[in-house]
Symmetry: none
DNA sequence: GATGAATGAGCTTTCATTCAT
DNA sequence: TATGAATGAAAGCTCATTCAT
């Protein structure tokens, strides 16, 4: 899965070179990193398939080829594991999105691109969308973690930055960029949620276009 | 709670007159309605206090003074009960909101009023907000997928209507009113969610103002 | 097992006559009593065989032919179940002991008889002895319940009564009967414990005789 | 705690002199002894604070500044460690008690003194009492069965010796001293146990006096 | 000898839902 | 219709012990 590139990458990036260079102390750390990655990768797959509640630690452990207890040497509990996994995935997605956004020059076009690519990604990844939009609410202490996802702030910042650029270059009026970021975020999430609720049947294209229209209309300079 | 007036009202509105008119068959139906209302009222209180997961059918049955099994004669399961209760509450709120919106004349002011009153209501009702914004996601999606909250559509329609009026009277441009309704809804929900996530500590006033600014700016006619 | 007579008896004592007399209401109560007894009997066997810790609720439920959860309709938790079972058994033993003690006339002989019969019983019932003397300490909240076994006080009272009789009839001096009861109890328990610790190998006869000698010597009137 | 003097002492008594004298082979042995003592001291504190069950090997290892696995180089398992620790503590207490008993001349007074000082000690050391009287029963019996606490025999011997002296000097009749020792032991233990069960609330003074009265009455010569 | 990461067995309790009465 | 006793599935997490390094 492309959006997991970072995770897999982290596993993969320990190449032969690394092994040679590593001191005995580093090797230990390598082993730990390797196990941790196995767990994260396995958890990602299991969570995506079954959702948070229905995923059992045993299943994850089995897939990661470690003992159940081992998971608790790396993560405080199931919830923390979920959050870490989700956060890493979200970061990967942002990296991906950025790759596409940076190819566009016009500041407003960048925002449009961001908006489109994200929604596109979610609609292309059923199970991940469900995990990131719905399952996250099943994490009991979610109340405190959900907005605590480090990646969440990266997203907001990213949009904010796009806005600042657009403002500086005179493309949009001097809005509160943070509020606008939140609006974009909430609209994207809501569109995806409606789509999930419809059992992935509705076509999001029209809705997303119309919403975007109002969003942009609300910030451009005349 | 005044916003629950409808629920209680439904219990109350079977007055003496009704009783006289009722045939023996109707009386049965009356009994059923009365029991159903007892269950709904009890469930409302229990759900608000403990949230969806932590509320047990036993507790609701006890409070409604019926047997556990009886609840299943009126509702398919715990989830359906929750949805029904939530839906009735949401309807009541809309009635309330409408009472305040209709006192305003200017079509745009009406939208502003709607937006403000709803947010105000949620921030004044911690436990209800949590139930309607967060708990609702703990209900197995299936139920929401197929039906959705009926009241949800009433809300969307309500905003749509306000928009249509505003369009007709030339106050705002010809936007897609449904999309705008969804946007308003998603933004309100998101603002409340952030507030809940912050443990009811952040002040929503600034954020809600800035978001509203962009929303309105996105639809007005220059 | 004879010492379980009461338990089985309670199951058995609902004979045909009872059934006829029972109103529908009583039948319910009968059903409940019957189930409760099945659980108690099953638990008694399982606890005796495996001890408290190693006995699982599932095993007891299976043997009692009820669902796991059913046990919790009758007992708060595993510990309460253990205590109830142990207490009933202890009562049965006391009944048995009494049957033998009452055949003796001399007040001091009664005390000797009591002492002997109890130790005899324990040494004839390995597994029960272990349960009553050792396992009881594995009940976590044992600290509060252990002396709270209703049967415990019956034992103390029983010995006290024997003493009072002996005092009244001038056979022993005016000692504090409660203290003496506790001493008898503690000595019996300790002798049994030593015997259990020795893996049931040592012969308790000599020790019990010598201890009894000092106990009696300490209370008789010269 | 003064009664742990022996344990600490064993750590401390390897002074500079020892180090000089030790051959390389002895130094190894010294190192082992030192580590063993660190473990014992740490375990003593942890066990006293948390009880047997709730004390984890990790916690002990951490406090002793060794690795978890290291503990298993010195002790077969957690239970053996507990027994060793408890045994050493019990020995220390006996040393202490002896210091006070030897100041008394009259053989019977010695026995009284022993009885009083031990109970006094336990009631002044909540956590130790719990450990020695209750926790010890949570250790799988196997360990106690075969060996028993070595210090246990020292206690019995000690009382036996006091008795022998008293018999020789004609203060008490010719009882079986071992049985009497066991009785004293069992009564002390029981009194303390009742006190622990009462959550350290009951006053043991009256009970202990009355029990002692019967004990002594049972052995004195008229 | 020392380390400490890894193991993996083990089990109570809750509660939505059913169904005999 | 109403009852409420009975069902039984379901799974997180700990921690004593081992063993490769």
């Amino acid at each position: 899965m492309s959006h997991c590139a970072r995770i897999n990458c982290r596993v993969a990036k320990f190449n032969v070179m690394d092994k040679i260079i590593m001191s005995s102390e580093k090797q230990l750390s390598f082993k730990r990193t390797e196990v941790r990655n196995r767990i994260i990768t396995a958890a990602g797959e299991v969570f995506k398939t079954n959702g948070f509640q229905a995923s059992s630690i045993s299943a994850i452990a089995k897939k990661a080829k470690v003992a159940d207890g081992t998971i608790y040497l790396y993560f405080k509990n199931k919830e923390e594991l979920f959050i870490v996994v989700l956060d890493l995935m979200m970061e990967d997605i942002l990296d991906n999105v950025h790759d596409q956004v940076k190819r566009v020059d016009n500041p407003i076009e960048k925002i449009l691109k961001f908006y489109d690519v994200i929604i596109e990604f979610f609609t292309n990844n059923h199970s991940f969308a469900k995990m990131a939009i719905l399952e996250v609410n099943q994490v009991k202490k979610g109340i405190l973690v959900s907005t605590g996802l480090p990646s969440y702030y990266k997203y907001l910042n990213y949009i904010s930055n796009l806005c600042h650029q657009a403002i500086r270059k005179g493309f949009i009026r001097e809005i509160d960029t943070e509020s606008f970021s939140i609006m974009v975020f909430s609209c994207i999430e809501y569109i995806i949620r409606l789509w999930i609720y419809s059992d992935y049947k509705t076509d999001t294209h029209k809705l997303r276009k119309k919403v975007l229209n109002i969003l942009i209309y609300g910030i451009i300079r005349y």
